[in-house]
């Protein structure tokens, strides 16, 4: 039976490597949030909503926020501030490819947290943000 188990495990691994679901990506942030904060309970869509819309004063003097480029409603396509290139919707309800590639999610959190907050985001913030995006119907 062990052979079968190995084969099944291999198939499962292959499936995960090829395409993760947003829930799987979110799980890695849950694990990190627990590690960062032993009293962590769960992510909050409401906190993610607030985080997404919060206007921050950047050291350049500009008012910045996630929503400034991704629009107030994450179901909508946004526009790049400098290049005018279209940004596809963030909400998986409008763009099913979002949050299905853990490395890509991390890459953009790393960049955009620096762009807006001028620091890295923690797992709680990333998880709240994703939970908000996933709550949008």
């Amino acid at each position: 039976m062990s052979k079968t188990t190995v084969v099944l495990a291999l198939m499962l691994t292959a499936a995960i490597v090829l395409a993760a679901s947003p829930a799987e990506v979110l799980q890695t942030y849950t694990a990190q949030a627990r590690k960062d904060n032993p009293s962590f309970k769960e992510f909050s869509a409401a906190s993610g909503d607030k985080f997404y819309h919060a206007a921050v004063k950047h050291s350049s003097g500009k008012q910045v926020s996630c929503a400034a480029c991704h629009t107030d409603n994450p179901r909508n396509a946004g526009k790049h501030d400098r290049t005018s290139k279209e940004i596809l919707p963030l909400a998986p309800a409008a763009n099913k490819d979002r949050f299905t590639d853990a490395a890509k999610v991390e890459k953009w959190f790393k960049r955009n947290c620096q762009d807006v907050l001028e620091r890295e985001c923690n797992a709680q913030e990333k998880g709240d943000f994703m939970t908000y995006m996933l709550s949008i119907k």
Binding site: V7, A14, H80, R82, T83, K85, R111, N112
Partner: protein, 169 residues
Amino acid sequence: MPRRTLVTALCACTLAFALPAAAQTAKQSPAADPGAKWKAECSSCHIAYPPGYLPERSWRKLMTGLDKHFGENASLDDITARQITDYLVGNSAEKSGDRRASRFLGSLPAGATPLRITETPYFRRKHDAREISPEVWKRPKVGSPANCIACHVGAEKGDFSERNVKIPQ
């Protein structure tokens, strides 16, 4: 041996899944298509600008400052950054063989290391005020000289020929 049959069936099933997937990965891997990573990463926020329009020294400088990329954080993991640098350098103005690439290169003063294609003398000459009125750059559909595709409709395919220019009103 039903158990063996089951294992064989599962193996066959795994292969059926894995082989097309492996073929697909191979098609997208940098070895098979050296430009795939460049295209995917460099076209997220703007069109993937042609490697042949800047010299090697410009690409090397640009790729070491991705954390401050024209005021934005565009950092990449080290492996991806190295692969893209290799692609840019391998197809830079010195190596591209493209007619227009040699004009970009020829227009540069020795030692100049522009980080923007729009800073090169060749670009400036082709887009000077007699060719393009300063008002055109301010039109909402244009916005900036960096937005090649606003007028060069084939820009994403590397087509910058004059007959394929359509300036939006």
